[in-house]
Amino acid sequence: MKILSLMTVFLVGAALIYGTLDMPKWGDPQSPASTHVSPYYLNHSLEDTATPNVVTSVLADYRGYDTFGETVVIFTAGMACILLLKAGRKRRGNGHV
């Protein structure tokens, strides 16, 4: 079982390393990730949002609804944690009484 899992891990690792052979060089300014969409945000974010920090302007302006959903996610997670831990405490208290 352990050997099988280890083999799966190394198989996935080998497949991923095979995939990186086509990846652009580290720090390459002409890589596809930094030539297609991101220049638009770097060029237009100042006139669109008047915010010098591009990460902030994308997070809170261009993707504002996504960030709102993100806060819903973390609120739900926090509520789930509180409810789980509170329910556990109450049940044990009832068990002792």
């Binding site: 996935v12 690792g13 990186t20 990846m23 060029n43 591009v54 990460v55 996504d66 997670a77 944690c81």
Partner: protein, 131 residues
């Protein structure tokens, strides 16, 4: 060949880190170790995405001299001077999801420990089979 290794070994580091997390998730019997393995896995993916945003000689994506023209004059931005901002933003979202799953998973682990008084997976399955 040597240059190829120098320009690609960062990806291999993250794949190694991902393999550590994947192994912990599959093989370890302790639930907390599984959760930490999941955390390592997600950290590896986040580091991978962040490394795609690097440009050689570029700075953080905060525009310089942005407030001198009072916003009206949109001067040309040298794209090569700033790192790619999009992976940073997307990984910010991924970190939030990571923290949320980690918190809920640890809370569930606490509940399992209260019920079965153990965190070992095989012991929990045996206790569940007994009733």
């Amino acid at each position: 060949m040597f240059e190829f290794i120098i320009s690609h070994y960062n990806y291999w580091m993250y794949i190694g880190l991902m393999m550590v997390g994947f192994y912990a998730m599959m093989v370890k019997r302790n639930l907390v170790k599984k959760i930490i393995g999941m955390n390592i896995f997600q950290s590896a993916i986040i580091l991978f995405y962040i490394s795609t945003s690097v440009k050689k000689g570029a700075s953080v994506p905060i525009l310089e001299h942005a407030h001198e023209g009072h916003g009206a004059v949109a001067h040309a931005v040298d794209v090569m001077q700033y790192a790619n901002p999009l992976p940073h933003v997307l990984m910010l979202t991924a970190i939030v999801v990571m923290v949320a799953t980690m918190g809920v998973a640890l809370a569930v682990a606490i509940m399992i420990y209260k019920r079965y008084h153990t965190l070992e997976e095989d012991e929990i399955i045996m206790a569940m089979k007994r009733g």
